[in-house]
Amino acid sequence: MAKAAKTVKNGFSLEKKENRTGWIFLAPAVVLIAVMSFYPMIRALILSFETGAGKNMRWTGITNYTRMFQDKLFIQSLGNTFLYLIIQVPIMLVLALIFATLLNNKNLRCKGLFRTMIFLPCATSLVSYAIIFRSLFANDGFVNRILMSIGLISSPVAWLTTTWTARLVIILALVWRWTGYNMVFYLAGLQNIDYSVYEAAAIDGASPWTTFWKITVPLLKPTILLTAIMSTNGTLQLFDESVNLTAGGPANTTMTMSHYIYNLSFQGAPNFGYASALAFVILILVAILAFVQMKAGDSRD
């Protein structure tokens, strides 16, 4: 600490004083986060090593973790969640990127209106939009009536009682809701790209397609990485759509991991230890995927 050799009247150097002030400002937040976040996380970890119904919990080591590999329902919900991740996230991010690029056009009129319209879905309540989607895709719902009246189908499609169409409805709902959110991130990122870069590209004779792939996407890499990690995190924890739109879907084929955890905790005889263990598995999965994405995408290393 050779730098802190300069002393002032009250015995603290200027740098030490600034450090101390900084820590004093941070202290309340640190305390709060320790009590509200870290402590419950530690207690939940301890809970995941216990088992029992209701209030009668007893220590059991890692049996909860080994048990989950024999749990067919858990494996099924894991598969469903990953299915949503693999299909929905790329579609949504590409769509958001396309919208952002289109709306970044300097000569487009009513940009504000379009941006608001695309962003508005993510301001809706999760539960109400899921319920509305459910009634839209009911057997006698709006979607079936429109499709029948324009002659695309001859009898109503059972959207929510067939496995793959139920999954499709969930994916559609997710894309509708979150595209605007990611689009806003990309728009912000695009503002950082100097217009002169595009001008130079235009002079060199690059088509919009080439500009998009060779200039926009590489320059937006940090933002794309951010939205990819956030979307992965959100999709792995998917809950509301599974509960309100399809109620786990025909025979648990659209149930997500979080929905299964909820059922374990509140529907049957409550088994909070096992549910806690499953919640930590989700944490581990998200951490692994985030790490992989950062290794693949972060060019700052």
Partner: protein
């Protein structure tokens, strides 16, 4: 700089360790842990239930009680009438009735019970009979013992009282009967050339036969049901006195011949087109009130919802349900649902709650006479069933004396075993049912269902009682 960092981290760790050590009971710790465990999933649902609860927890006032129940046309209406009856004895009496769906009540009970913090619970709440055993056995401290509360349990049907009796003690005041009936639109039956008596004491194959004919002549399915719910399967099973568990609490799903007959009957109902599948409760009620089906088979509490369609007055009638074939002990009677009132231990006025329930739901034949006509709340309170109003012809049902019919059927309901893992078994059967409807083999699906239930039972590690 490093020293300061170490100090700050040590301080933060010390704080969290202090919080560890000073927590008064594992209850508080478990509540934070439970909330984290569930937060990845249940934050929306649980916090909605808890915040609703916070604003409606047991009132501290002297003559006010908070009640949680669902269904405005049925339970809430009954409570409002009970309030009026009791206000004649105690003019200062007031009820704060909060409409809470059953799923939310169950969630609130589980959350309060596991955390040990009962302060969010109301004075009185309605509890499904099927869930009584599970809730009382898991959280015995949450329910007030009503055995010696002034409620005369001998005046209620024995099989009904059995639902809310745990370890020989009574924890609930029985309310409505869930006696299963077949309801039919007589005008549609007439169109196809049938009457209500053609449906009395029949078997399911005869039901399907008539149903196909009606479908061909009028284009109407005979009944509707929710795709993800197993109500029809459960009440068909109970009509033959069978259950998903034996008396010791072991699952009896795999190899259960009665259950196999039930599931194949259900498949036939769907394949023949006479059972219309819908996705939600509102859609189900919609099929009845919008005239999309020719009837339904369900607990008698469905009559309240049917009667909300005033334009269909005079066009309905009821009879008993069809029975299973080639099954021992098959009957035309069963039960679906029904609930009882429980008093939580969070109440500050247990005496008032007990007196209120004893004087109204367990004591007033006038009360039951009042609520009967518009809600169809059939009493399981035997003296009430003898009052004249039960023998009055009901205009909505073509002048038929439906209530005395239902009281008659109620006496013939076979009882069944529910137990702590009833809901796990129900959802396993729902999954099996959906797969069977899509062509899977019944035997292997039942085997999978049994394995799922056994897995859940072994996980909680409680011995079945």
């Amino acid at each position: 700089m490093k020293k300061l960092l170490t100090l700050a981290l040590a301080g933060a760790t010390a704080v969290s360790l202090c919080a560890c050590g000073s927590s008064a009971s594992t209850g508080t710790a478990a509540s934070t842990a439970a909330s984290t465990a569930a937060s990845a999933a249940a934050s929306t649902a649980a916090s909605a239930a808890v915040s609703a609860a916070a604003s409606t927890a047991a009132g501290g006032g002297s003559d006010e009680l908070t009640v949680w129940c669902w269904d405005p046309a049925f339970n809430i209406y009954a409570m409002q009438e009970a309030e009026k009856v009791y206000q004649k004895t105690d003019p200062n009496f007031k009820l704060n009735i909060v409409e809470t769906p059953w799923e939310d009540i169950q969630t609130a009970l589980t959350t309060a019970g596991t955390s040990g913090d009962y302060s969010t619970l109301p004075d009185i709440f309605l509890c499904q009979d099927n869930a009584f055993q599970k809730n009382v056995q898991n959280y015995p401290d949450m329910f007030t013992d009503l055995t010696n509360s002034g409620v005369d349990y001998s005046q209620f049907g024995a099989s009904k009282v059995a639902y809310s009796t745990v370890g020989g003690k009574n924890y609930g005041v029985p309310f409505d009967s869930g006696c299963v009936i077949g309801c039919y639109r007589t005008d549609i039956l007439q169109q196809a050339g049938y009457t209500i008596d053609d449906f009395k004491d029949i078997t399911w194959s005869r039901y399907i036969e008539i149903g196909k004919d009606i479908l061909a002549k009028t284009g109407m399915p005979l009944l509707s049901a929710r795709a993800d719910e197993t109500d029809p399967i459960m009440y068909m099973l109970q009509s033959a006195g069978a259950s998903l568990f034996d008396e010791k609490g072991n699952p009896t799903i795999n190899g259960n011949e009665t259950l196999k007959t039930v599931m194949s009957t259900y498949k036939e109902l769907i394949d023949s087109g006479i059972l219309l599948q819908v996705n939600s409760w509102d859609e189900y009620i919609g099929t009845l009130t919008n005239g999309q089906v020719a009837g339904t088979v369900n607990g008698c509490w469905i009559l309240a919802s049917i009667q909300t369609a005033k334009d269909q007055s005079g066009k309905w009638d009821i009879t008993n349900m069809p029975k299973l074939e080639n099954v021992a002990n098959a009957t035309n009677y069963s039960n679906n649902g029904g609930s009882s009132w429980a008093v939580s231990t969070n109440t500050k006025n247990a005496e008032l709650a007990e007196k209120f329930l004893a004087a109204t739901f367990a004591g007033s034949t006038d009360f039951y006479a009042t609520i009967l006509p518009s809600s169809g709340a059939i009493a399981t309170y035997i003296p009430a069933a003898k009052s004249d109003i039960y023998n009055e012809p009901q205009e909505f049902f073509g002048g038929d004396k439906i209530f005395s019919k239902i009281v008659d059927y109620s006496a013939k309901i076979p009882s069944n075993n529910t137990g702590v893992y009833y809901y796990e078994a129900r959802s396993a059967i729902a999954t099996a049912n959906t797969n069977i409807l899509n062509g899977a083999d019944i035997d292997s699906e039942l085997k999978t269902a049994q394995e799922t239930v056994e897995f859940a039972m072994q996980g909680s590690g409680t011995s079945t009682q």
